[in-house]
Symmetry: C2
Subunit: 271 residues, 2 copies
């Protein structure tokens, strides 16, 4: 057996998210099925683990997954076979033998997402409309940049997460960059990890500032309350793409994985 | 009545081309229907003329059309109404009162298309796959650049056109730039005008050079024969996008339109 690292891209529009669900078309499901088929294995013998379990409709250009497989087929040949076996809306961009200690989920040091939208009254470019949201109200990017600045750093993001029992909502937000471009507004959101619906809730807060419903310091105030606020909507999945996952140097992969498995607390709550 | 200029973008994937055809979904058909609906006119009272009558499956970001309409509704209001009335795969990016002498087709000085493709064995980025062709053989961009250089200028492009009775196939090819980019190969094709299937036949010749089936000077030799060559295939519409149409200064619009309506001959054939 050997552990392989797969770099994966997909158009999330016709998937019910990453994670396998009975009776639904999922990215994990399609990939495991294709791997089993091209390697002539039982589907139950193929189990993928990914860095970011994207929701229904969320896209990826830089998803990373690992899988443990018999080493009968080399990575280049496996990549070729997967290119033929997979549907056009999911692609395996590269296959490589993973370094020792590598775990696609727990070794990851950070995830970088981009949320794309336009406030052009004519709507999104038809060729990009499947991954760019059309926002019906005019947006002030300067206000969004201000609001974003107050959210960076290590915080308990409970106000921007769907809470799961026993799981921490403490995260370190490394980047939240709002950029106005000729074809719309791109927001880069990078953190060590994300809790469920966090990127889309943060985007909902930024847009409420951008279109004048909230003052620029309100998203940070909501963050400090630690409870969800009904003025913050979770934006649609359509505009969200997982662009990149970062890993430490090979020698640090195991250490990083052990850290990430440990339940995290804010310094002041460790007393 | 006033003449309006419409700048139009569309995803050609689900259209049977620009031009209205009975029983088929076309860009012109959708636009004329939407205009008639939002202005409460008879559909037969609305007739669009465009700069580039794109084939089935060809996309546009910079198509230009004109239409003569009663001046009851101002351009900004008309643009707003069209944004609501049109399906997401066709957008009217701007509406403006056309300058005197403007004709979307005959006043145009040049058209710029881009053909996008990838030779990555993993296939096209899923988010771009609807307007980027996947080519199964490896391509040498340097050879394609060489071949392109021999095709520039004014020529009879009969070898790269589907001939129409009584119509000239003489065109001036202004740019044919092959550019290797991180996400694939982009070829910019710009000419005063194009005859039918010309961009896709030129691309077929360049790819035959790029993947080693033809030497780099062969496309120019085929051009000189003036007859179609079976080694040159017409590439699929999927990769082709009309990006921009250029017009002369307002004062020259009428003159340009009169020139363009005149049947063109190569200098040496005017004797």
């Amino acid at each position: 057996m050997q552990r392989l690292r797969l770099d994966v891209a997909y158009d999330g529009g016709e998937f019910s998210g990453w994670a396998t669900q009975p009776g639904l078309r999922t990215v994990q499901g399609e990939l495991e099925l294709a791997l089993a088929r091209v390697l002539r294995l039982e589907p139950s013998a193929v189990a993928l683990t990914c860095a970011g379990r994207t929701d229904a409709g969320v896209h990826a250009r830089g998803q990373v997954a690992h899988v443990d497989l018999p080493d009968a087929v080399g990575p280049p040949e496996l990549r070729r076979r997967l290119a033929s076996a997979l549907p056009a809306d999911v692609r395996v961009r590269s296959v490589a033998v993973a370094p020792g200690g590598f775990d696609a989920r727990f070794s990851a040091a950070w995830r970088r997402y981009v949320y794309r939208l336009t406030d052009d009254p004519a709507g999104a470019d038809p060729l990009a409309r499947r991954h760019v949201l059309t926002w019906k109200r005019r947006l002030d990017c300067g206000l969004m940049v201000q609001a974003a600045g107050h959210l960076l750093g290590e915080h308990d993001f409970a106000a921007y997460c769907r809470k799961r029992e026993g799981a921490t909502t403490i995260r370190t937000l490394l980047r939240l960059d709002v950029e106005e471009r000729p074809d719309g507004i791109e927001t880069t959101v990078m953190a060590d990890a994300f809790c469920h619906s966090m990127v889309r809730a943060l985007m909902g807060a930024l847009l409420a500032v951008g279109d004048g419903r909230l003052p620029p310091d309100e998203p940070a105030r909501i963050l400090a309350t630690g409870v969800r606020d009904q003025r913050v909507t979770v934006l649609p999945a359509r505009g969200l793409t997982l662009e990149e996952v970062g890993y430490p140097e090979d020698a640090q992969l195991g250490t990083r994985a052990r850290q990430a498995r440990t339940l995290r607390k804010l310094p002041e709550s460790q007393a």
